[in-house]
Subunit: 197 residues, 2 copies
DNA sequence: ATAAAATTTGATTGTATGATCAAAATAAAT
DNA sequence: ATTTATTTTGATCATACAATCAAATTTTAT
């Protein structure tokens, strides 16, 4: 029976999480410190310790915040579509669109995923991309659905989901200048269509 | 006009680099320290400072070592093939095979790429995946070659290379237990064939 | 053999920073 | 109004660690 955190606590936590995202985007995981986060959030360092158990706790909450945001965005768009193929295209489209509009979020996500570790010291990048990852589950559900409705041909659902997720993730690492997200999206949709149809 | 480093220096450097790879694989970038590397290499901390200008220098040399190793391995295999299609399949095969046999190398590579930054504070993951990356150049050369010989159909070379590299990179993040590299390889080859033929 | 150069050690120093805490400020309850 | 609980501050403490360096050891040159 844990009592609900007060509104102040909830607001402060979100404020600190948002400051953490900004700081991660600007200076990266390695250089981030409670002092830097505090400065960004315009609060004292002690306040962060008051609302979070430790630095790791701040970053874990930030990770959940980022993943939830991204997942909700994509899921909502996909839910608007009916056929498996439309859902698949929308999944890709929304995933890439999120990257375009939430650049700082993506950078922060990368910084945390490739640095934070579970209590038993397993890096997140080794666990997250799996059955536990809701995005993977969503993508696999779409692929499975399409196979059942005969919209898609036969293929290994899990492995194809890894291919598609990989193609999406890779584009997150491209620097903006010489990379055109729009043409990439079109090419990816064309290629995925060839794969599943 | 810099004088060649002595054999002892070269050997020590390699010893320290190999210890760094092991340490990165075991404890990750965040927790690595000169003391940990020294212990792995069974030398004193001071010796690392003697052979490298600073900690960052150690990690930069380790990164070059890892990238060179991987590239040489893949390039050599590809060079044995004549047709563009065979080269492409070999590229994929060798890339995934390298992962299977050089697991610690891959982990170390990920740890550095997602943490180390250039002197002007740009993270490597934002710059590496680009025209400068020899692996990308190799893959794009193969794709271009196949288009010229009419083995492949028409597509955007650069974007397709990103898709393929993404699919390869994603599999690096899969944990061994429930992931079968061999079946993934087969599925990826099938899908890439659909894409380019 | 002796001297000079290169290599190696391990203790020391300085710095950065996560965490703590007493005191102050603010808000909520009576 | 007054008390109590909550929130916030900023200075202080403890720790980890990169970097330095004088001294010791080993290698190379003469």
């Amino acid at each position: 029976m844990e009592k609900q955190p007060s509104f102040i606590t909830q607001a402060r936590r979100e404020q600190i999480i948002k400051a953490t995202i900004e700081a991660l985007d600007e200076i990266g995981y390695k250089k981030i410190s409670l002092a830097k986060i505090a400065k960004k959030a315009k609060v004292s360092t002690g306040l962060i310790s008051y609302h979070f158990s430790d630095k790791e706790d701040v970053l874990n909450h930030t990770l959940v915040y980022l993943l939830t945001n991204q997942y909700d965005f994509i899921k909502e768009k996909v839910a608007e579509r009916k056929s498996a193929y439309d859902q698949l295209i929308t999944f890709i489209d929304a995933s890439l669109a999120y990257q375009g509009t939430h650049h700082a979020h993506n950078v922060a996500l990368i910084e945390i995923i490739f640095n934070a570790r579970t209590p038993d010291n397993i890096p997140y990048y080794k666990v997250a991309e799996d059955e536990e990852d809701p995005l993977y589950v969503l993508l696999q559900t779409i692929l499975q659905y399409g196979k059942e409705t005969k919209e898609f041909s036969t293929f290994d659902t899990k492995n194809v989901s890894i291919i598609i997720q990989g193609a999406i993730a890779e584009s997150m690492l491209m620097n903006q200048e010489d990379f055109n997200l729009e043409t990439y999206k079109n090419e990816l949709i064309t290629m995925v269509t060839k794969m599943v149809k």
